[in-house]
Symmetry: D2
Subunit: 427 residues, 4 copies
């Protein structure tokens, strides 16, 4: 039965499919941090929809609201017509998220996916400044449509465009060359020297922690200096918080601890709360010079997602959720640092921040092998980085400590299994 279903995939789905190759089963049900496949096998989810399920699967309160909404024949699809579900979301987002953080931003619904919010951000930055170039950073990932792909570092993904990707200059992310080399001194030389071949860009776009690019966390001082440089040269600062935002690194916006004020913020993935497509582009009010419809998208008004998104914001009404994330993040860090010490064979290095941590290992293929063995043992975990050199822990933020420990155990078991095998081979 499971095999019949996998066969359907193989026969009918394009070869572009990827995760089903790493996790070759058919899932049927999921609650919180647990998933079950057709055979009833249970899995712990340390993947969380690549950051789209920060609140876990089928959160009961959101589920209740969503079912009620559907039962009442609430509007499902509205483009950007006004609906009750939408206005309620806007109000609560303003009340719970923006106002308490002293943030004044206009909200745009650019189409329901991460790449849509990035594309809209780039357009707006170019319109506001009248400039064409964007500065992006090494190992950044921003999406797969041509605009977003242009600011994405991964060369295999870029090659997929089939055309030269233009109007972009890539600068070194924090620690790109080595820990001593100051990448921003380098960047600033290019901006200040009129003979550098680098024009003043419309914007810089970056993730504070690069998820796909290998779990690279920029230091807060580095982020602050980026903002300072942007201000100095009249460059807009776009923070792509699609993956690192909505609590993944410990705060609602990933950049809060850095104390910066981006001009444009991109949100998607977990903003819908329940795993349904939704994306937001936030911009400072004075930048909101869009003409009506200048950017649009059929599914920009996904009301089911508005309903669950509104409910999800309840998590942020006081500090308790945030505190719980920080506490559990600490557990993850300690676990990973312990692994690195205990298993020198990993040649491991702990990377990242909050619920966005992992271990980078230079041993070829090792991270993928660990993830593969872990899957057999009932844990879903992804690798990251251009050479898949990192295995990363992305549990739902709502996971309890017991769930975390269970996942840790599977990971450690998987590492042991692989090391033992290697020893056998070596001996």
């Amino acid at each position: 039965m499971l095999n019949d279903n996998l066969k359907i995939i193989e026969e009918l789905e394009s070869s572009v499919r990827s995760y089903v190759r790493s996790f070759p089963t058919v899932f049927t049900k999921a609650v919180g941090h647990k998933m079950w496949d057709m055979d009833g096998k249970e899995y712990i989810d340390f993947f969380a929809g690549a950051g789209a399920l920060n609140y876990g699967h089928n959160d009961p309160k959101m589920k209740k609201k969503l079912v009620e909404y559907i039962m009442d024949d609430g509007i499902t699809h509205s483009l950007d017509m006004a609906t009750k579900a939408k206005t309620e979301f806007l109000k609560k987002f303003n009340d719970v998220i923006l106002k308490p953080r002293d943030m004044e931003y206009k909200v745009m619904f650019p189409g329901p996916t991460g790449t849509n919010t990035v594309e809209s951000a780039l357009k707006l930055a170019r319109k506001v400044t009248g400039r064409t170039d964007i500065i992006s950073f090494t190992n950044g990932f921003h999406g797969m449509t041509i605009g977003s792909l242009s600011v994405t570092g991964n060369s295999a993904k870029r090659k997929g465009a089939g055309i030269p990707l233009q109007n972009v200059v890539t600068m070194p992310f924090d620690n790109f060359v080595n820990e001593d080399l100051d990448t921003l001194e380098y960047l600033e030389r290019f901006l200040e020297d009129g003979g550098s071949g680098v024009e003043l860009p419309a914007a810089m776009i970056l993730e504070t922690v690069q998820g796909e690019g290998g779990i690279n966390a920029a230091r807060y001082e580095w982020l602050k200096r980026v903002e300072k440089i942007c201000n100095k040269y009249g460059i807009l600062l776009i923070i792509d918080d699609v993956q690192a935002g909505v609590g993944r690194t410990g705060t609602f916006f990933s950049f809060e601890p850095a104390g910066i004020n981006p001009d444009i913020i991109c949100l998607s993935k977990s903003i819908g709360g329940f795993g349904s497509p939704l994306a937001l582009t936030l911009c400072k009010p004075e930048l909101d010079i869009w003409n009506p419809g200048e950017h649009n998208g059929t599914f920009r008004g996904n009301n089911h997602a508005f309903v669950t998104a509104t409910e999800s914001l309840t998590y942020w009404e006081d500090k308790s959720f945030e505190n719980s994330i920080l506490k559990k993040s600490e557990m993850i860090t300690q676990f990973l640092e312990g692994l690195v010490k205990k298993y020198p064979e990993l040649e491991g290095k702990v990377k990242g921040r909050g619920f966005m941590q992992g271990i980078e290992t230079p041993v070829e293929g090792l991270a993928a092998k660990i993830a593969a063995v872990a899957f057999e043992k009932g844990l879903i975990m992804e690798t990251s980085g251009v050479d898949d050199q990192v295995f990363k822990l992305f549990p739902p933020l709502t996971i309890d400590e017991e769930g975390l420990e269970k996942g840790f155990n599977i990971i450690e078991d998987s590492i042991k299994t692989i090391i033992k095998k290697k020893e056998l081979v070596t001996n």
Copy 2:
């Protein structure tokens, strides 16, 4: 209360919002072809989510399936991991849609929106052919991300890119210059003459009926000749059936009556059935040379949409639905032709095909005025074309004849109202 909610929109939402300006109310509920706003006012929906709600709002069977699925804690979000909901959709899509039409295609889930399927189609065409250019057509609309925008004709939308849009050549759509001038003779001269400055493109992309571009329907012979030219020069033919597909023009795929076999087909909007984000890219099996993950997207596995999409395909299990569309299309045509005759002040011309028809009027601002008055009278209807010169009838395909007639009456009343006012002014 309604005004409070509209104020929220005004204060918090970006100025890029558009439809809420034409339809200034707040909707709460919708069933079939009817919608209600916060004040309880009922509207007939001749807009249908710009083609995303071909089966109307909250179709009871889909609704039932969806609620059951959610109640059972079915997977909501799965990237491209396999789920039961997904394999069931794939199987039924193959059984009900592809096989009976002798169509063999691989199915790709490129991210859940129209622009995603177009971007993936362009990438694939460039990869397969090793060429960079795409031929698009005047007044085509394919989406708002940079790749899709490049093949979109509308100059205001293009300008929004803020950068020159490249690797594209626009050729004249059927009847672009005038009815006598054969646009394909031009196109072919450009291809056959090595000094034409137009390189052999990777693909041609087109809609069989241009929805956003002014309800321009290409003749079937024209489509056949396009296919012939593509075959002659080894150019891939991409049909963007995002809006014209899924029954909108009378058949599941809009190009069926033309008897052509596109290399790549783009589907979105109504493919999810219920108005939830979903998109498919179909390609001939021999073109499926993607590397795993070469194109991807966080929400490409929107399982709620799989559930309703699967149920929606039931409509296509026999010919009855198709027949009902054709019959009602006929009513629309007759109504519109009647209007043109009866109201010469419109200087009107009936355009389009199936449930994708409208009247083009050269009188400046008239189409928009008709739509505005109709809204006051309880009908939701959009304009189309670069100068909003067309008002278009886009009811759900499931509307009953009574609903259609009601809508017709409102439209005629609106026209009368406007003409009367004008007469008063003129006199």
Copy 3:
């Protein structure tokens, strides 16, 4: 000896060399319309440096002036510092060419080659209008550097760029599709329709007679309508008169009989008079918004060429030279029309205007064969067009009637020889 010298070429010169392949000898001396090779063989020159030797080789008056200048240690190279040779040229160019034609233009020296003047014209048009796109025409040829190549039609040349050529839209030249189809109706539709995908361009660039593209002469009414369209839409009109100018079509500027006033004019090839590198970009005074040095080039002040250019302008002080060109052009036309009638095997068609005429033949390889046999018989003549489908007569404008007749005879002899051979083969 001759072979030794050809061997040097073969061993040391890059494979990119081309004319030496069609004319495999080593030239030593040339006067007027005659050339001699190392073996003393005499040739009649119906090639004239592809239009760079309109006054023939080593014109005695220019030669005298040039030698005197060199003997007196005149400045050879001056970038754009002022020299006596330069100011004298400027003054005489204004007095003899511009003023009598009521033309007010600023003169720019953009670097001494045709591609330099085109590149500077495109830059200026983009700067003046703030737009990026240029409309070029099918089978246009404007040069081999990336900017000029972008507006060149030939696909083999374009491919040589190794990158996509951008910011250009190619429109059909006069008679491109067939004689009945109005290419400007087509062009104008693209400009007037905001959904055409073609943005308003900075400029249109064209040759009045396309030399490299197959000797296609635009009708004067067509040129007038192009100018009218440009005026209507605020598009600059650039006439590339590098090859067709300086008398080649019968008047100093090729567009004089059309009665148009281009915004920018590109001159090179014969403007130096003696075959030395020189180029001019003329622009209307109000367009001359260049910053100092915004475009430049080391050899833009080639004083040897100024000296001979000044002398060459004497030819234009009265109408006698112009009249002689017209008279001899008539002879060329009659000769070619006679050939077409007399030798139906050519399936020939006379093309072009003035001293820029030729015969197009659809018989594959025939034009090249005629040129090859003619070379053996002592005539230098080139083919043209993307498939080398035209053999073209490009004698110096100064050739006498006897020289013309001699050349005609060789051409006819060559045709006879080939036809006879074919008959032998056929029989």
Copy 4:
């Protein structure tokens, strides 16, 4: 009289003119390192046609050969047909320059200017590698046509393009950030990291000493490491020796002391010997995969320049010329270092190598002022760098020591004059 002539310039020449603004006189005659204007005023030439007059003005031996050639009705213009003048040049270039240096290269004549050789080099590199991008370096200058301008750093020049310049990545030249920061470590990180956003380029292009960019001399070890990196990644190395070559830095090719073997070498400016337009593109034989005519240009066969170029190579038949350059270079260095010490007000720094040296001063406008005063005192000298922050000494290589000293004196006098004035102002 002089003023009348300057007025002609003002009235008729485009505002793009530049050097005539710095040197507002009209030159009539020049010999060796001396020039005279209409008023008979004598100037010492420390400018040398921006490197196009390395052998000085009107070198008597070249002059003799050139006049004889013209008197004998030698071919002036030949496109790329073979002439005696051309084969003699090719042979001597091979015998005197290439062979003794163990260099095997094919010679291409790409059109007679620097930008032409650069454009041809970029095309060839893209063709050979099948890649699109080029790595250029900060403050590099390679020409003004779109291809060459793309690899040029100066932002004012780049902006002149009016379109985004594409397919290029700018990397930091030696010492760009600061003296401690290793710019090649950066460059290599970008190449080795698959997530860097920088694709493997077709080629790197650079000048060993950047003339226009501020007289920046790359260290020989830096050049060696660039070559090593190119070899490691299969990137072609293009040395643009248009300005630094033909002896300007002390050896015929500027890169000889670095011991590197570029894949492609660009030559122009002084290669013609006499100041006439000529350019060469040298490529390793295995890279010579051009199709005939794939790149061309009307004036690529400038025979007058072949004649003088051939004669000029006589200078290189033994080491004496090279030795004299080195000796005089030493004098220049000592003079400049002396100035820096003696006049701390300059805040000067000596830059460059050989006959391509100058003083950079951060005092705004100072370099230009020195050059302006020197001109009044009878010396022609240019500034360089994006902010004109360098005054540079570019005498002909043939200048005698007396001439050098005279020039030195004028420069020092000019500096004194300016400093005195400032003191007066300050006091």
